[in-house]
């Protein structure tokens, strides 16, 4: 038992000190009927070699994204992460530490969180940010709940361009709390409908840009309409790299910006763990959910950092907390901050331009495929196309050519009547050969 340091003689000596005849005696508060004497029906312990063989065998049954041409996006993006990032987050002092409850011996984590909050605020164009949420979708749901607290209104409008998983997550939570959710029909250009839906009961409108169809949206008018009605504007971003090219949510009038931060510093991981970004206008900070790190001084007057504003949180406020969130995504936030500090302003801008350029190449190539219609007018690194056959079927067919062609919109929302819509993303990892392979495969499989 390589992880268990007690030796048989240790155990005997410890029982002697405790004054217990055997270990089972220590479990005497468990009702006898519930104490299992037999081992459970599971395999016995295994060596590292054996465990590695089993799990590597499972991994080998997956086709890693990098094994061939690959175009999935829809809320999770394949970017290149510098080796330095993954090296640093594996350092014992970061990896095996807990939430920084004792700031004197947790300044490493705390200072990183302070840097993270500042980066997120800068990216979103808002004044303050928290120390991370689980992911973009739960951050979105929390933002809606926060809008309810701020406005004391009970209705939220979700744009038809919002990622269906985000909409479903938000609906699930908000419904339980008794909020009314008006989820607008899925639509590629979804924003006019949002403005129309705003009324005096509206707590918030939730708009995504680039939206789930890849459309880059000017939300300034929505902000004006929302604010005129006393509602908050929540802007959602699922591709954080887009902040390097596009006008920030804050600059367009957002009150709350939430995002999926996976694109920066984090691998695809089949969907998790990811890191939710959450930024708000300064005046809203005390209604913000989640942990926050703040600057202070120590007994010698030296600058340091602590978790703060904890009177919003569950461990102090219990049922009156702004959220129940406790453990968040510290290590993913660390990866985000390291990667972003390596990129810097110059690198992020260049990376974003590179992504956009790859998507332009992609659009050009797919526009030339007979039967394919590009639906996205203004895009960052992802476009929606209409195909003459079921997009789900088409993706399966392209697999035979070694190409993972993208995400059928119907997988995200089978009820939208958009079975012929395929979401196709490109990043800096996409090569001209990949794009040519996709175009050829589509042409062949459609033809």
């Amino acid at each position: 038992m390589r992880y268990l340091p007690l030796t048989p003689s240790d155990r005997a000596e410890m029982l002697r000190v405790i004054g217990a005849p055997d270990v089972d005696d220590l479990f005497r508060d468990v009702p006898a009927a519930a104490r299992k004497q037999a081992l459970f029906d599971l395999p016995l312990h295994a060596g590292e070699l054996e465990v590695e063989r089993e799990i590597a065998g499972l991994a080998a049954r997956n086709r890693a994204a990098g094994e061939g041409p690959f175009f999935c996006g829809a809320g999770a993006y394949r970017h290149h992460v510098p080796a330095t990032v993954d090296h640093i987050i594996q350092r014992s002092e970061f990896l095996t530490s807990y939430t920084p409850y004792q700031p004197e011996i947790a300044q490493g984590t705390l200072q990183v969180l302070f840097e993270f909050q500042t980066q997120v605020a800068a990216l979103t164009g808002l004044e303050v940010a928290n120390a991370s949420m689980y992911d973009g979708s739960t951050a979105c749901a929390e933002a809606v709940m926060m809008a309810q607290r701020v406005t004391r209104r009970e209705k939220a409008i979700l744009s038809g361009g919002l990622h269906p998983h985000y909409a479903a997550t938000t609906q699930t939570i908000a419904h339980a709390e008794g909020m009314e959710i008006e989820r607008l029909p899925a639509a590629i250009d979804a924003e006019a409908a949002v403005i129309e839906a705003i009324d005096a009961e509206t707590a918030c409108v939730v708009v995504q840009s680039p939206n789930v169809f890849g459309v880059v949206t000017d939300v300034t008018r929505i902000a004006e309409a929302a604010h005129a009605a006393g509602a908050l504007l929540i802007v959602v971003t699922t591709e954080a790299v887009s902040y390097g090219l596009l006008k920030s949510p804050g600059a367009m009038g957002a009150d709350i910006a939430v995002a999926e931060g996976q694109s920066i510093g984090n691998a695809l991981n089949y969907g998790g763990p990811y890191v939710g970004l959450f930024a708000v206008r300064e005046k809203l900070v005390r209604q913000m959910p989640g942990r926050v790190c703040g600057e202070t001084v120590d007994a010698d007057g030296r600058r340091g950092y602590v978790l703060t504003l904890s009177t919003r949180e569950q461990h102090i406020r219990r049922e009156k907390a702004t959220s129940n969130i406790c453990t968040n995504s510290g290590l993913c936030a660390l990866a985000f901050t390291i990667h972003l500090s390596l990129l810097g302003e110059a690198g992020l801008r260049q990376l974003a331009s590179l992504n956009h350029a790859k998507a332009r190449e992609l659009k050009t190539a797919l526009s030339a495929v007979k039967g394919v219609e590009v639906l996205t007018p203004r895009f960052f690194n992802e476009i929606a196309i209409r195909t003459p056959v079921s997009a789900t079927k088409l993706v399966e067919d392209c697999l035979a050519d070694g190409v993972i062609a993208g995400v059928p919109f119907a997988r995200l929302d089978p009820h939208a009547g958009m079975d012929d819509v395929l979401l196709v993303a490109a990043t800096e990892t996409t090569t001209p050969e990949d794009i040519a392979a996709l175009a050829a495969s589509l042409a062949k499989r459609i033809g």
Partner: protein, 497 residues
């Protein structure tokens, strides 16, 4: 040594990545292009490496010494698990790839689910919750859906013991329940009489942690579940302390209807300075139909995902998050389980409990255990009675432990015990380390009772920092770095560009 912030050392034009040049053509985006500076400093790779390595050395970590944070279960994190999670077949896998290309991932989720169900004796598990509190949310949403399906939607109250984790009442409130507290007995358990008195047709569920936050097993657990079910309510168990009983006791045998399992506690996925966690929720037969999408099922073409609340998932209450949960944590947890096996997991519980009782025994001569009678489970709880008259507080003791090279225990929790000190060693501590800790603790105790309390009250002295002013931080929140000028960051960047 003060480590400057990246905003103080980084360059607005510096970058630590090399990217190919591209045509900067974004004309189709018009004025949606970001013209103003963002305000992000860049570091070259050598600078970034030093910055974060230096910062890291300001942290305590389980890899350095005992980290006995009660209720947090800081145990050894095997690096095999890190290696497995980084296999390209898992790390470089997109959640929306065709499932025919992710059969290994689905199989791993399926195996993890099988282990969790077998270890808890429960028939179903929802894998998607992203942390313990998210698991609580999932559990209560399931319960709510079940009540609604049965026409019991009028049940609006959840009962929670006073000793509960703050997440319990917060979660209940978050899903729209009102919260009523259940009293605690003098021996640190749920007061059955109070429970019985408060159970009624308005009660949706009880939320009980077991072993509880006093480190004690709820002796009357079978009666608790019987009463709860008799009142038409469900039994939500907070599984944060599953570490103490894994492989020996099945919550399903105790009448539990729903329980989250913190994979980052019992199954050792690293805490990472505050997450990511993972909080799968096991469910009883009664609740299973209402579990959220997605889940893995077996079909003629192999494994597949049920992603929508329709057909076979018609009763699903919705969705907890985008995609399928914390896959990276699933891989780690599964590697941990497979390494231990049925025999090793049982040993985990036994050694965790043995270690805690050893600490309790060694420290009880000097310190006052909150519940001296009988054994504790995986953690030993002391109160501050023994400090009376010394002027030294629980906080001082905790800070003094830092100077001895240990992380402090959990302090002032649970709230029901005055000046609580909750010590959880876990099973991965050698006896040598426990002895070292006990001796340090006893020496501090002697100092507290002797005339050396000034040193304790100003501790820590040997940490990277002295005590920090938390009041100042909360009173005048500085939550982001701002340049010395009052100009916005972006303007500073612009000025230096």
């Amino acid at each position: 040594q003060d480590e400057p912030l990246i905003f103080e050392t980084g360059g607005w034009q510096t970058t630590g990545v090399d990217l190919p040049d591209v045509p900067q053509d974004a004309s189709d985006l018009g004025d949606l292009v970001r013209a103003d500076p963002i305000g992000l400093p860049g570091l070259t790779e050598p600078e970034a490496m030093r910055h974060y390595v230096r910062l890291s050395q300001k942290n305590h970590a389980i890899d350095l010494a005992l980290y006995p944070l009660g209720s947090c279960t800081m145990k050894h994190n095997p690096r095999l698990n890190e290696k497995m999670a980084r296999l390209a077949g898992f790390a470089d896998l997109h959640p929306l790839q065709p499932v025919s290309t992710t059969q290994g991932a689905l199989a791993l989720m399926d195996r993890l689910a099988h282990w969790l169900k077998t270890l808890t004796g429960m028939p179903a598990v929802a894998l998607t919750p992203k942390a313990g509190a998210h698991g609580e949310l999932c559990g209560l949403l399931t319960i709510k859906a079940a009540h609604e399906a049965k026409g019991q939607g009028h049940r609006r109250t959840v009962l929670v013991p006073t000793s509960a984790h703050g997440t319990n009442p917060a979660t209940a409130a978050f899903v729209g329940y009102s919260v009523t507290e259940i009293a605690q007995t003098a021996d640190g358990r749920v007061d059955l009489a109070d429970l019985e008195a408060k159970l009624s047709g308005d009660i949706a569920a009880i939320m009980v942690t077991n072993p509880n936050t006093c480190g004690l097993f709820e002796r009357d657990i079978l009666e608790i579940s019987r009463l709860t079910h008799a009142a038409g309510a469900y039994f939500y168990c907070d599984g944060a302390n599953f570490n103490a009983i894994v492989g020996k006791v099945r919550p399903g045998d105790l009448g539990v209807d729903a329980m989250h399992i913190n994979l980052h506690k019992t199954f050792s996925t690293p805490h990472g300075g505050g997450g990511p966690g993972a909080g799968p929720v096991v469910l009883s037969e009664a609740l299973a139909p209402y579990a959220p999408a997605p889940w893995v099922v077996s079909g003629p073409d192999g494994l597949r995902l049920v992603e929508e609340a329709k057909d076979e998932a018609a009763a699903a209450f919705g969705r907890m998050c985008a995609f399928h949960g914390q896959m990276g944590m699933f891989v780690r947890a599964y590697a941990y389980m497979a390494s231990h096996g049925a025999d090793g997991l049982r040993q985990v519980a036994e050694d965790a409990v043995l270690n805690a009782n050893y600490i309790k025994a060694r420290l009880s001569d000097v310190m006052t255990p909150a519940f001296p009678e009988g054994p504790c489970m995986h953690e030993a709880l002391f109160d501050d009675t023994w400090l009376e008259g010394t002027g030294v507080t629980t906080l001082d003791l905790a800070k003094a432990l830092i100077d001895e090279g240990f992380h402090p225990m959990t302090m002032y929790f649970p709230l029901v015990v005055h000046g609580a000190m909750l010590i959880e060693p876990t099973e991965t501590e050698p006896k040598r380390e426990l002895d070292r800790f006990c001796e340090a603790m006893l020496a501090i105790a002697r100092a507290a009772k002797g005339n050396d309390s000034a040193r304790l009250k100003s501790a820590p002295h040997l940490a990277p920092m002295r005590r920090l002013d938390e009041t100042l931080a909360a009173r005048k929140p500085k939550l982001t770095w701002r340049p010395d000028t009052t100009a916005p960051l972006a303007e500073v960047a612009a000025a230096s560009a």
